[in-house]
C-alpha cells in the first residue's frame, strides 16, 4: 500500500499539480495520518478526528472543521467518510478522496478481520460466545445512549422539542413495532419533518424581518 501511495505522489508531482500549503503535504502523509487516526477511534472516530485534524495536524481551523462537519452531516453516508471525501478532494482531487477513505478503512478493516477470525475459531467455547453476547448487549446500550445524547440537541429545534420528539417517536414505532423498511419511512417522515421545519424557519425569518 505504501509504495502505491508513493507512486501516486510521484504521479501528482509529474502532473505539476500544486499542493496546497494547508493540509497534508503528500498523499502518503494523508494516508498515514488517517490510519493513525482510525486506529485511535473506538466507537466511532469523530472525537479523535477533531483532536488529530484540528489540534495536532492543524489541517483545519476549529471553525473550518465544524463547517465541513455540518456539511458532511447533511450528505448521506458515514459522516467521517463524507468529511474525508470532501477534504481529500480539496487537497489532492479524486485521488486524495480515495486515499483518505482507504486510509481510514484499510488498517482497522484488517485488524477487525483478525479479531473476527479469532472469535470464529473459539466460538464453540461457551465463555467466548457468552462474551460476544455480552458485548452485543452493551453495544445496544451504547447506541441507545448515544442517540439519547443527540436527542438533547433537539431542545433547540425549530419545531420545538415536543414537535421534534413526536417525529422521533413515530419513526421509532414505524420501524420497531410495524417493522416497515427504512426507505419509505425515511421518505414519509423525513419529507414531512423537513417540510414543516422549512415552513417554521421561513415563518420566523419573515417575522424577524417584520420587526
Amino acid at each position: 500500500m505504501y509504495s502505491f501511495v508513493i507512486h501516486l505522489k510521484n504521479y501528482y508531482m509529474e502532473q505539476k499539480v500544486s499542493i496546497p500549503q494547508k493540509g497534508p503535504k503528500s498523499l502518503a502523509e494523508l494516508y498515514w495520518a488517517m490510519t493513525k487516526l482510525a486506529l485511535q477511534g473506538f466507537g466511532g472516530v469523530f472525537p479523535v478526528a477533531q483532536r488529530v485534524l484540528v489540534e495536532e495536524r492543524k489541517w483545519f481551523t476549529p471553525q473550518g472543521f465544524l463547517e465541513e462537519w455540518a456539511i458532511a452531516q447533511v450528505l448521506p453516508g458515514p459522516n467521517i467518510v463524507n468529511l474525508l471525501v470532501m477534504s481529500g478532494s480539496k487537497w489532492f482531487g479524486a485521488m486524495g478522496a480515495f486515499v483518505a477513505v482507504a486510509g481510514i478503512f484499510s488498517m482497522p478493516g484488517l485488524l477487525l478481520i483478525l479479531v473476527a477470525i479469532f472469535f470464529e475459531q473459539f466460538r464453540e467455547y461457551p465463555a467466548v460466545s457468552g462474551a460476544l453476547h455480552g458485548m452485543g448487549v452493551v453495544s445496544a446500550g451504547l447506541i441507545g445512549g448515544t442517540s439519547l445524547k443527540m436527542a438533547g440537541s433537539l431542545k433547540a429545534h425549530p419545531l420545538t422539542f415536543l414537535g421534534a420528539i413526536t417525529f422521533t417517536t413515530v419513526t421509532f414505532i414505524l420501524l420497531a413495532v410495524f417493522k416497515f423498511p427504512l426507505i419509505p419511512v425515511l421518505l414519509v417522515m423525513g419529507t414531512s419533518s423537513v417540510l414543516l421545519t422549512y415552513l417554521k424557519i421561513k415563518h420566523s425569518r419573515v417575522a424577524k424581518e417584520g420587526e
Binding site: A38, V74, V138, S139, T146, L148, T197
Partner: protein
C-alpha cells in the same frame, strides 16, 4: 444455509442502495439490515447480527465497519461445503463494505461544492434540522433490535439491566467505551446471559 449467486447479488445491491439513504451514518441503517438479513431472508442469525455490531465496536475504526462485519457473517453462511469459511467471509467483508461506501462517496464527491455554496440557504438548513429527529428515531430502533433478539421470556432480565445500565452510563457519564465493552464481555463470559 443454501445461498446462491443471485443471493450474493441481492445483498450487494441492497448495501449499495441503502448507502445513499444512510443519513446519520451506519447506526441508522441497523434496523433496515436487521429486517433484511433476519426477518426477510434469514441469512444471518440474531447472534451473528449482534456480534457483527459488537466486534466492530470493540475494534477501532469507523462505525461503518459493522456493515462489513455483516458481510463477513453472510460470507460464512454462504460458504459452499468443502470450501474455506474465511475466504468467503473476507469476500463478504470487502465487497459489502465497498458497496456500502461507494455510492455515498460518489454523491459526496459530486455534491460537495453545491452544498458548500448553499449551506446557509433555508432549504439546506431545513433538510439538516428536519431530518435530525427522524434519524435519532432510527438510531434508537438500532438499539432496540439488538436487544429484542433476546426477547425470550425466561431468564432475560439480566440482558435488559445491562443494556439499560450501559445506556444510562453513556448518556450521563463519560465512561470509555472499552470499559463498557470489557464489562459486558466479562459478564457474558461468566455465563450469566446464557449463550445464543
Amino acid at each position: 444455509m443454501n445461498i446462491s449467486f443471485s443471493d450474493w447479488l441481492s445483498v450487494l445491491i441492497h448495501f449499495a442502495s441503502m448507502s445513499v439513504f444512510a443519513i446519520g451514518g451506519a447506526f441508522a441503517l441497523i434496523p433496515e439490515f436487521h429486517r433484511f438479513f433476519i426477518d426477510e431472508h434469514a441469512w444471518l442469525t440474531e447472534s451473528q447480527f449482534s456480534s457483527s455490531i459488537a466486534l466492530a465496536q470493540a475494534s477501532p475504526g469507523p462505525n461503518a465497519l459493522m456493515l462489513a462485519m455483516m458481510g463477513w457473517n453472510f460470507g460464512i453462511n454462504a460458504t459452499p461445503v468443502g470450501y474455506s469459511h474465511y475466504a468467503f467471509a473476507i469476500l463478504g467483508f470487502v465487497s459489502c463494505l465497498f458497496c456500502a461506501l461507494t455510492p455515498s462517496c460518489v454523491l459526496t464527491f459530486t455534491a460537495t461544492r453545491w452544498v458548500q455554496k448553499n449551506n446557509e440557504k433555508m432549504g439546506v438548513v431545513a433538510f439538516k434540522k428536519g431530518l435530525a429527529p427522524v434519524v435519532i428515531g432510527s438510531m434508537l430502533v438500532s438499539s432496540w433490535v439488538i436487544v429484542r433478539g433476546d426477547f425470550v421470556l425466561e431468564n432475560n432480565w439480566p440482558i435488559w439491566i445491562i443494556a439499560l445500565t450501559t445506556l444510562l452510563l453513556v448518556w450521563f457519564t463519560k465512561t470509555h467505551i472499552l470499559w463498557l465493552l470489557a464489562g459486558g464481555a466479562a459478564i457474558g463470559a461468566s455465563g450469566l446471559l446464557g449463550s445464543i
